[in-house]
């Protein structure tokens, strides 16, 4: 093809094609193809969602009060976020107001997910892009201890501790059964950490694996289990009883104490392990502050999250900032409205779906989803054994959402840049601290490194907000306010014949919206536009590329057969592809205006 110019990028697919499929250490199934020039620099990038489930057609005709459980199963990694947005959408449609305690408990459960999900992402999905496990074998445990103690007061840092761990690791490697570390890119020239930093990071990989399961117990206390806790339209299912008969059957003082202790432990782990590790590792990878920026210096979107005032989702109530930045203009934060048909639209020109007019996008309330699995003429291989895709045609199960026609990046970096641009100290000060500590300029934020750093800062922010929400809850209980559910409109007989609503949140991976239409007490239409759709989506009708493709552009690969650089940048988004599930009938015709991506 000829070179395509879009959004400041020149897409040239004439060079060597490299395919990475599966992209591992993500949720779901993703394929990346790139073209390299003769210097092994990426000159064209192709992002393909390779799975499709069809959840929303399944929702049609069901009880709206059940929807949270179905959509919660969109994702078990960011578990609960779809459920939260679903109950919000139903409550918006049916004009149900929830009690203050329910709002606080939901916020607390959601902040809990942020803390656990970001922590797991950094250590278990992303760290191996930066940490060479094999190199850790040659570390000096004493020097490792000195390193650890120089950056943090975390007590697990003695030479003996690191020596024991190294010895366990050595035996593991010597066994020849490398398990999940088998065939990793160990020894790749892209790994820059000294052996001691690698050993420290491996130790924390294992500690974080042990600790993350503690954080989620807060969701278990209020929601009964994790993954996939229980939610309720009108409030939360757990009642509070701190005084009388049967207090042990509800949220009582013992349960609250447990929550409080977990919050303390979570803050301690994140601030004394995650953040110091992040800064220490980042200091060896400052060059990645100029790689992988993609759309982040141009277009960013956040719906905002954590309503501080129950039933008020306006910008003033939201603790996490709301707004859009377009064209890199940090001086202007544009207002966002999920119900405005001109703002959020989805395109399918390069997705395996069919519209009557594919040059136009459709708002989720009016969306159409009709699968159309056709491969372009330039595809190599066969329909069921694809070697490489033809991106000039349809090439992904993910759609292309646009905000006022623009491809947007969503996620922690988007939220931090928007908060920074607003001058919100909760977001600006930590960013300035990191920039200063790493001695890098502001533009370094728009990068793979910036994305990964923002997630770490946000993890700490969320952990401290858990304490804030808990204290608010306790203040209510002291004042005698114990209500957790509003059942005035629980019975379908109280509902109007027709209703529609939208719910949103900021999920760990970015802006998430659900749109619901209710008719005769049943779901008539249900649609979701999820964070990974924004970031992983393919090109649109105007050939504008999405955030993943943009972020990979112009990255040099040291060893094209070992795609470490691709993994670093893609993982910096924390992909979640199970959300890439659209709807159609078995016969292929449209059966409902319902989509999930």
């Amino acid at each position: 093809m000829a070179v395509i110019e879009t959004q400041g990028f020149k897409l040239d697919n004439s060079g060597r094609r490299v395919v990475v499929d599966p992209i591992t250490r993500i949720e779901g199934h993703l394929r990346i193809e790139v073209n390299l020039d003769d210097k092994n620099v990426i000159r064209n990038a192709v992002s393909t969602g390779t799975m499709w489930r069809g959840l929303e057609v399944i929702l049609k005709g069901r009880d709206p009060r059940d929807a949270w459980a179905f959509v919660e199963r969109i994702c078990g990694v960011c578990t609960g976020v779809h459920a939260l947005v679903s109950v919000r959408a139903v409550e918006d449609a049916l004009k149900i107001k929830i009690p203050d305690n329910a709002n606080i408990i939901r916020n607390l459960m959601h902040a809990t997910l942020f803390a656990q999900d970001h922590l797991v992402h950094f250590y278990h999905l992303h760290a191996l892009d930066w940490v060479d496990v094999v190199s850790a074998l040659s570390a000096d445990p004493k020097k490792t201890s000195e390193l650890a103690q120089s950056i943090s007061s975390w007590p697990m840092s003695s030479p003996g501790y690191f020596r024991d761990l190294q010895s366990r690791l050595k035996k593991f490697v010597d066994s020849g059964q490398l398990g999940p570390f088998r065939n990793g890119y160990w020894g790749h020239p892209g790994y820059k950490l000294p052996a001691e930093a690698n050993l420290m990071a491996v130790a924390h990989y294992l500690e974080a694996l042990d600790f993350q399961k503690e954080i989620v117990k807060i969701q278990t206390i209020f929601g009964g289990k994790n993954p996939h806790p229980n939610w309720l339209v009108g409030g939360v299912p757990c009642s509070i009883n701190v005084d009388g008969t049967g207090a042990v059957g509800a949220i009582n003082m013992e349960r609250l104490n447990m929550v409080s202790k977990i919050i303390d432990d979570t803050i301690a782990f994140i601030d004394n392990v995650y953040i110091p590790d992040l800064l220490a590792i980042a200091s060896f990878y400052k060059d990645w502050g100029a790689i992988g920026g993609g759309l982040s210096s141009q277009n960013l979107l956040s719906y905002g999250e954590f309503p501080d005032i129950a039933n008020d989702d306006s910008a003033k109530s939201l603790l996490m900032p709301r707004g859009a930045i377009v064209g890199g203009n940090l001086k202007e934060i544009l207002p966002v409205d999920l119900k405005d048909p001109e703002q959020i639209q989805e395109f399918v020109g390069h997705s395996w779906y069919k519209y009557a007019d594919e040059t136009k996008g459709l708002h989720p309330f009016d969306g159409v989803t009709e699968a159309n699995f056709v491969l372009g003429k330039g595809t190599k291989g066969t329909k069921t054994a694809i070697e490489s895709l033809d991106e000039s045609a349809k090439y992904s199960w993910v759609k292309s959402p646009r905000w006022r026609g623009n491809a947007m990046e969503v996620g922690p970096l988007a939220r931090y840049v928007i908060g920074y641009a607003m001058g919100n100290a909760e977001f600006k000060d930590p960013v300035d601290m990191v920039l200063k500590k790493l001695e890098v300029p502001l533009p370094a934020l728009f990068s793979t490194l910036g994305r990964t750093a923002a997630r770490g800062l946000e993890c700490s922010w969320a952990a401290h907000k858990m304490r804030y929400f808990f204290d608010k809850l306790m203040a209510n209980l002291k004042a005698g306010n114990l209500a957790t559910a509003n059942v005035d409109n629980w019975e379908p007989s109280t509902w109007p014949t027709l209703a529609q609503g939208a719910g949103f949140c900021e999920a760990p991976r970015g802006a998430l919206g659900h749109w619901i239409k209710i008719k005769d007490t049943k779901i008539d239409n249900y649609q979701c536009v999820v964070p990974t759709t924004w970031n992983a989506g393919p090109r649109d009708a105007k050939n504008q590329i999405g955030a993943y493709e943009a972020a990979l552009m112009n990255t040099a690969m040291a060893k094209p057969d070992e795609p470490l650089e691709i993994l670093r940048t893609i993982h910096s988004f924390d992909p979640c592809l199970a959300c890439a599930s659209h709807v159609m009938s078995p016969e292929g015709e449209e059966i409902t205006r319902v989509t999930v991506r």
Partner: protein, 365 residues
């Protein structure tokens, strides 16, 4: 020389005495008598780690997330010391060609000696291309890896029954894995997700005894799935006493009454939630005020609203009728329920044996 689990533990400074205690606890958590502790100890002392290949089809990764929540044993210790998790897209370091090469290497080196663990399920529609890792139908990959596996574990309700993507009208024709793997023993560990410690206990059991656990007629380990949530629910006395939550957050909810009238599916759901509980015993759905939604049962998405109460429970004998899930809410008056509950306790003992056989027949689909 591959090191054994015992060597790993000793190396970490675990004393022989602690090790024996660990084996006793393992026996207890597996529901085995203390007499089995020496067997476990012997197995762990002598066996190399069993390779596990963990594939992901159409799913949401909640099973993996649950697995890493395991507290005893810790997921870390399972992965480093008990099994060799040689392929799992969610956590493995390698990607693309290197990941696929790892899969092929292990299949060859350990032919007939590895365990296939499946999270999610294969869609058959569109020639299988609704799930196309590596550019090929997942169903082909699944069959390919199953061919030389010594045993197959179906993690969660997706692999076991189909779960949410197979709910009506099942747009992708997603099927449980036993529809495409027909020549191997399959251990079904249903739940959305399954309980973490149930998952690791099943793996530990297989690795320890080198055999699959005793399964019921639906393929589920009897040690965890032979009793209903209702049978061991701590709120059961309130059911029997006719004390129910009538509305969310009412006085009954605050004192922990039975959630039957709020749609709880505990009476028809076979799982260990009310005994093992979730997240290191922290709670379980009913313990936190919401009814069981029946997520370990086949087709639980298509049995009516989660808030419809089970309706075809006749006046005498919830035990005998518990598997007939009402599809619509209606018909049962509070008075009838109370009357039923009052006599249930009396009838339960005499009905129990009959119920077990009756249930086993009925759940066969």
């Amino acid at each position: 020389m591959t090191e054994t689990f015992y060597e790993v533990m000793r190396r970490q400074g675990i004393t022989r005495r602690s090790y024996v205690k660990f084996c006793s606890l393992t026996a207890a958590s597996l529901g085995l008598s203390p007499a089995f502790a020496p067997t476990i100890a012997h197995a762990l002392e002598t066996k190399p780690r069993t390779p596990v290949l963990w594939l992901h089809g159409l799913e949401c990764t909640c099973c993996t997330e649950s697995f890493i929540r395991s507290a005893h044993p810790l997921a870390k210790d399972v992965i480093l010391s008990m099994i060799s998790l040689d392929y799992d897209d969610t956590i493995m370091a390698a990607a693309g060609h290197q990941a696929e090469a790892a899969l092929e290497q292990v299949m060859k080196e350990y032919k007939g000696n590895y365990i296939l663990a499946v999270e999610g399920n294969p869609p058959l529609g569109e020639d299988g291309m609704f799930c196309m890792p590596g550019g090929k139908p997942f169903v082909d990959k699944l069959k390919h890896v199953a061919k030389d596996a010594k045993a197959v574990i179906a993690w969660g309700s997706c692999a076991s029954w189909g779960c949410v993507q197979a709910a009506k009208p099942n747009p992708t024709t997603a099927v449980p894995i036993n529809k495409v793997i027909t020549d191997k023993p399959i251990i079904k560990v249903p739940g959305c997700p399954p309980i973490a410690e149930v998952m690791t206990a099943v793996v530990t059991y297989v690795a320890t005894f080198d055999r699959i656990p005793e399964l019921d007629r639906q393929g589920r380990p009897k040690m965890f799935y032979s009793q209903r949530v209702h049978d061991k629910c701590y709120r059961r006395p309130h059911f029997d006493a006719g004390q129910f939550v009538e509305k969310w957050d009412d006085e009954g909810a605050k004192v922990g009454y039975c959630l039957y009238k709020m749609g709880c599916k505990g009476p028809t759901t076979y799982n260990a939630c009310s005994t093992t509980r979730w997240n290191e015993g922290t709670s379980f759905p009913i313990g936190s005020g919401h009814g069981c939604i029946g997520c370990s049962e086949d087709g639980f998405w298509d049995k009516g609203s989660f808030y419809d109460r089970l309706t075809n429970i006749t006046q005498f004998g919830v035990e005998a009728n518990a598997d007939k899930v009402g599809l619509v809410a209606a018909g049962v008056t509070g008075a009838a329920v109370v009357a039923h509950a009052a006599v249930t306790a009396i009838r339960r003992a005499s009905d129990r044996n009959k119920t077990r056989a009756d249930t086993a027949d009925r759940v066969e689909r």
